[in-house]
């Protein structure tokens, strides 16, 4: 459907595009994070592209490649990307769309912010930071958007304990089971 966008993008930035893919009429381009800002600006400003409608920004946690608690093995290494940040773009004028994906390693989850290119990504990137801990360089206001400042960790990461709660207030007359205490620390807190 938008194959011509992929072709034009690959022709314009042969070094920035790691690979491309297409599934169910959704064209995807994997971009090097150093080139993301240039690619995004070109997609917005080029009259043949004219991506004027940012749809969403989110992240995928590929921790399944490294089972929780297992040591580093040949299936997983420090260099293997754990996170994929997705930007879905749409052009109302040309009726085409494309998805940009940026792969990020676990120890350095940061990439340039697109909030200045499309202001609608401002809050979306804040949400991605809130839930996954992705750092967006150059973001004008990178704070938590849904959760409270006291929250420790990033709840949509796959290694966040499923039922771990971080209460702000509790009645002081409730019995506390030390095994289920909400403040009990978990190994993943140290990350």
């Amino acid at each position: 459907m938008s194959q011509k966008v992929l072709a034009a993008l690959t022709a314009a930035f042969p070094d920035a595009v790691v690979r491309t893919g297409s599934a169910h009429d959704d064209e995807t381009a994997w971009i090097k994070r150093e080139e993301l800002l240039a690619v995004a600006t070109w997609l917005r400003d080029d009259p043949a592209m004219a991506f004027d409608a940012p749809v969403f920004c989110t992240c995928i946690d590929w921790i399944d490649w490294r089972p929780v608690g297992r040591p580093v093995s040949e299936h997983w290494s420090e260099t293997k990307p754990r996170f994929t940040v997705c930007y879905q773009l749409r052009s109302v004028a040309h009726k085409h769309r494309i998805r940009l994906e940026v792969e990020l390693p676990e120890h350095d989850p940061r990439l340039p912010s697109l909030a200045d290119v499309w202001p609608a990504f401002n809050w979306q990137e804040r949400e991605t930071f809130d839930m996954y801990g992705i750092r967006f360089d150059g973001h004008p206001d990178l704070r938590r958007i849904y959760l409270y400042e006291e929250f420790v960790g990033y709840p949509l990461r796959k290694d966040y304990p499923k039922e771990k709660r971080q209460p702000l207030v509790r009645r002081d007359d409730l019995p506390v089971n030390p095994l289920k205490a909400p403040h009990a620390r978990h190994e993943s807190d140290n990350k």
Partner: protein, 182 residues
């Protein structure tokens, strides 16, 4: 219906007068004049509106008048999911209400967290404030709400609400302390 209702209340008053519990006359008045503060956060609000609307008509029990200031209300209805981020706000609303006050947890989310067992949902509003009556259901039927309201009215009449018991306890402690002082 108006005639039925007045008869019911007269009978109710006669019953309590017959038991000569005159000290509980204020409780008898309170249970028929509950001023609701609807703390509506989620989809249970639709059922709350249904209960308040003429078909089920919570006004039959004297609890028809939602006040949107906690200072003017004595029944806190927690209608919907409470998140951990909302905990301080809920506690503050409860603290601002005038004594004596009662709390109904409306639906499973307000009672236990419901199917939200995760990082953001509070496992029941009673983690933050004392709850008098829990209503199960997702969302509960209006009949369940009316049943819960009648249970709460009985509890108010008996003086067994959380805030009533706390007031009694505080009075006993205060009188014991004043006896010690003398």
């Amino acid at each position: 219906m108006g005639l039925e209702l007045s008869t019911t209340r007269l009978e109710d008053a006669a019953k309590w007068a017959k038991q000569s519990k005159l000290a509980r006359v204020p409780e008898w008045g309170r249970k028929f004049s509950l001023f609701t503060y609807p703390f509506v956060t989620a989809c249970c609000g639709m059922e709350f509106m249904s209960v308040a609307a003429p078909k089920y008509d919570i006004a039959r029990f004297g609890a028809e008048f939602p006040r949107f200031s906690p200072r003017q209300s004595d029944l806190l209805m927690i209608v919907g999911t409470i998140t951990e981020k909302q905990g301080p706000a809920l506690k503050r609303v409860y603290d601002q209400m005038a004594e004596p006050k009662w709390v109904i947890a409306f639906g499973v989310c307000a009672s236990t967290g419901g199917f939200y067992q995760n990082y953001h949902a509070m496992p029941g509003a009673d983690q933050v404030i004392p709850v008098d009556v829990y209503i199960p259901g997702c969302p509960p039927r209006p009949e369940q709400v009316l049943d819960a309201l009648m249970m709460l009215m009985d509890r108010i009449q008996d003086g067994r609400g959380h805030s009533q018991l706390r007031l009694k306890r505080d009075q006993m402690i205060a009188s014991a302390q004043s006896d010690d002082g003398q």
